[in-house]
């Protein structure tokens, strides 16, 4: 099953490779991984999407907790949470495709953030599955480039990951 794991980690050189190294050494997979400093610059927050049985997820969270630099670990998908991913798609947009692409972008609540005579760059935010759906919905042959940030997530309401 897919799990979203949030990690609060010391913002130090090598912290990311400790996490990434743990996953490769123990044969766990990483679907997406995002990392950036928090409002407290001494801490970084990572959101990691992985998949595995309950036993494997239990081991993953235990092994992450064992890393000396890791302050806290939470499996966000255990309880209500919000997840978002941002995608930029560069598409060919000329002739009749231009209007159609604008319409699809509007339907998915995307924003066109760069325009040339023949291309658009569409910014789209949402759950990973919404972004997947957009890719499927538009004409595949018009996609020039896509880039995704990976998932960021946060617990709903009083679920707070902080020290």
């Amino acid at each position: 099953m897919r799990h979203i794991i949030s990690i609060l980690i010391e913002n130090e050189a090598g912290a990311l490779s400790r996490v990434a190294g743990l996953f490769s050494a123990r044969g766990y997979n990483i679907e997406t991984l995002t990392v950036a400093p928090t409002e407290d610059p001494s801490l970084s927050r990572m959101t990691l999407v992985t998949a595995g049985s309950d036993d494997i997820i239990e081991q993953i969270t235990k092994q992450l907790n064992k890393l000396v630099d890791v302050v806290k670990v939470v499996d966000l998908s255990e309880a209500p949470h919000v997840e978002r991913e941002l995608m930029l798609v560069k598409v060919r947009a000329s002739g009749k495709d231009r209007e159609e692409m604008k319409r699809m972008s509007d339907i998915f609540r995307g924003r066109i953030i760069d325009v040339t005579e023949t291309t658009y760059v569409i910014e789209l935010t949402g759950t990973s599955s919404k972004l997947d759906s957009f890719i499927v919905a538009i004409d595949q042959t018009l996609i020039l480039e896509t880039v995704r940030t990976g998932v960021s997530g946060i617990g709903r309401g009083d679920r707070i990951l902080k020290i």
Binding site: A13, G14, D55, K62, N65, V68, D69, I163
Partner: protein, 570 residues
């Protein structure tokens, strides 16, 4: 007062009461060596290969209470040579601090001479590591290294120090204590969980206690003894756990696992309540976890590392905590529980165990022609009164040592269990001897393993270390040959050890005593001579042993614990 980085390193070692540092100098650590040279408090032990420095420091920790082994090596090849030693210590959770030189900060990443990415290379085989880029962080980082190494689940911690940092100056002050917000190991066990455990234990019909290296690392042998006698349960210890509970005690069923005793493995498989303490159910211990899971039993698991719990075997009552603290509370709760029915309830189980024990699964035949390796270990046990520190290398001789030398005290059995590193035996013996300067130390090894760190005979000469090397020489990589015989149709691919040196002459050329023993009748007299007349000498005892001896019982890889091959089956 302003000190150079190198002075700070040495002052930190002094503050930590470090008496010995095992190391090998080189370009990047010259300032540190210069400071070591100027003082007498921290003694440097010069080895002949960096791997041996780390192994010796590792054994220094393993064989002592509260002393931490320290190794010091230079950048690049110094570090890569040390990696085997670091990984060995890591797999067995041995507390240790490794200080490594690094090229100057401005050179890092430039493919400089003797540069390697030390923190990157060692990251998967240390508990934690640091690269100190600024001299102002140096003292605090070293404090953290010692703190991390010995607290929680112990392990090796590496501090990489660029050469320019050892030359820069900074005001020295050593922190009295340290706290790391991201690191808070649990000490006390959860009382509710302990209560559940007690209920299971006093209600057991076929109970079993299974203990590992965690009991030794946490010095919980007193508590373990008290608990085991209080309950009257049978007990088995892993290879890493031997000595925590006396092997000569009737409640001890011997080691379990791949080469465990018949009674220990059968009892482990068929028990209804299992109390696991500081052990991790690894593949050499329980064999195939699916086969192990076929028998319904309740498992209580005490360990300081939550990730060791329910990793390979699902556990019913996990208790995370420091073993002695948890055992203290377990004992207190058991003492106040109603357990009058317990001895009666488990009487039938003990009867069954005695039947299994009656198989005498370790028996072997010693004729008057060819020396059996088991016989040598037996005689060594007798001659040393069971009181020596025994190091071993890896292979058949290691298993014979574990089976036939009955360890009654903790920290006396020093070997590489997790990583299984050939070559550790001699440097381990050195480390043991520095930590226990008056102790008898014997290294049980084979003609293949001993050659992997044979250069340390020179270190032993320099420091006059009277180690007794018990070389069980069968001219084969014995364990490899045994697997080839059993699983590869007797095709002995590259397992014959050809072109051996004359070990007697080799030992003599290093200024030691050499003996070759070829007849069973000579085994005991030779050992007596080594431990009496040559008490203060290193004696290399080359025992020419049977080439066909195999280690039994054996649970083949992937098989279940109760699916043992016994010597009598063949």
């Amino acid at each position: 007062m302003e000190l150079t980085g190198a002075e700070i390193v040495v002052r930190c070692l002094q503050e930590e009461k470090v008496e010995h540092v095992f190391g090998y100098p080189g370009g990047s650590v010259l300032y540190i060596y210069d400071e070591l040279f100027k003082q007498n408090q921290v003694k440097h032990i010069l080895v002949r290969h960096e791997q041996a420095a780390v192994h010796a420091a590792d054994a220094y920790s393993r064989s002592s209470i509260g002393k931490i082994g320290v190794a010091l090596v230079t950048s690049g090849p110094g570090v890569t040579n040390a990696v085997t030693g670091i990984a060995t210590a890591h797999m067995d959770s041995v507390p240790m601090v490794i200080i490594t030189g690094q090229v100057p900060t401005a050179y890092i990443g430039q493919d400089a001479f003797q540069e390697c990415d030390t923190v990157g290379i060692t990251r998967p085989c240390v508990k934690h590591n640091f690269l100190v880029k600024n001299v102002k962080d140096l003292a605090e980082t070293l404090k953290k290294a010692f703190y991390l190494a010995k607290t929680g689940r112990p392990g090796p911690v590496l501090v990489d120090i660029p050469k320019d940092v050892t030359a820069q100056k900074y005001a020295f002050s050593y922190p009295d204590s340290i706290s790391i917000r991201s690191y808070n190991p649990v000490v006390k066990g959860h009382s509710g969980q302990i209560r559940k455990a007690v209920q299971l234990l006093v209600g057991a019909k076929r109970p079993m206690i299974y203990t590992g290296g965690g009991v030794i690392l946490s010095d919980a042998d007193q508590q373990l003894g008290k608990l085991t006698r209080l309950l009257g349960f049978p007990l088995t210890q892993t290879l890493m756990g031997l000595g925590a509970f006396p092997a000569t005690d009737h409640q001890h069923l011997g080691m379990l696992g791949m080469h465990g005793t018949y009674e220990a493995n059968m009892a482990m498989q068929h028990c209804d309540v299992l109390l696991a303490i500081g052990a991790r159910f690894d593949d050499r211990v329980i064999g195939n976890p699916a086969h192990f899971g076929q028998v319904a039993r309740k498992i209580i698991h005490v360990d300081i590392d939550p990730s060791s719990i329910s990793k390979r075997v699902k556990v019913d009552v996990p208790i995370v905590g420091n073993v002695p603290d948890v055992l203290d509370e377990l004992i207190a709760q058991i003492e106040s529980s109603d357990r009058a029915a317990l001895p009666g309830n488990i009487a039938g189980w003990w009867k069954q165990i005695e039947e299994w024990r009656g198989k005498d699964c370790l028996k072997f035949k010693q004729d008057d022609q060819v020396i059996m390796p088991q016989f040598v270990v037996q005689k060594l046990y007798e001659v040393t009164g069971g009181d020596a520190f025994i190091t071993s290398d890896v292979g058949q001789h290691q298993m014979f040592a574990a089976q036939f030398y009955k360890f009654d005290k903790p920290r006396r059995w020093i070997n590489s269990g997790g990583l299984g590193t050939m070559g550790v035996g001699l440097p381990y013996a050195m480390g043991v001897r520095f930590a226990n300067p008056d102790a008898q130390v014997a290294c049980i090894t084979g003609e293949a393993s001993i050659q992997m760190c044979i250069q340390e005979l020179s270190t032993c000469k320099q420091f006059r270390l009277p180690v007794k090397i018990i070389n069980l020489n069968n001219r084969y990589l014995g364990m490899v040959r045994q697997w080839q015989e059993m699983f590869h149709g007797n095709r002995y691919a590259e397992s014959y050890v050809d072109a051996l040196p004359d070990f007697v002459k080799l030992a003599e050329s290093y200024g030691h005593v050499g003996m070759r023993i070829e007849r069973p009748a000579d085994v005991e007299p030779a050992l007596r001579e080594a431990f009496t007349r040559h008490k203060d000498d290193l004696v290399f005892m080359d025992f020419i042993t049977d080439q066909t001896a195999n280690v039994f019982p054996m649970v083949a890889a992937g098989k279940g614990l109760s699916e043992m091959v016994l010597a009598e089956d063949l």
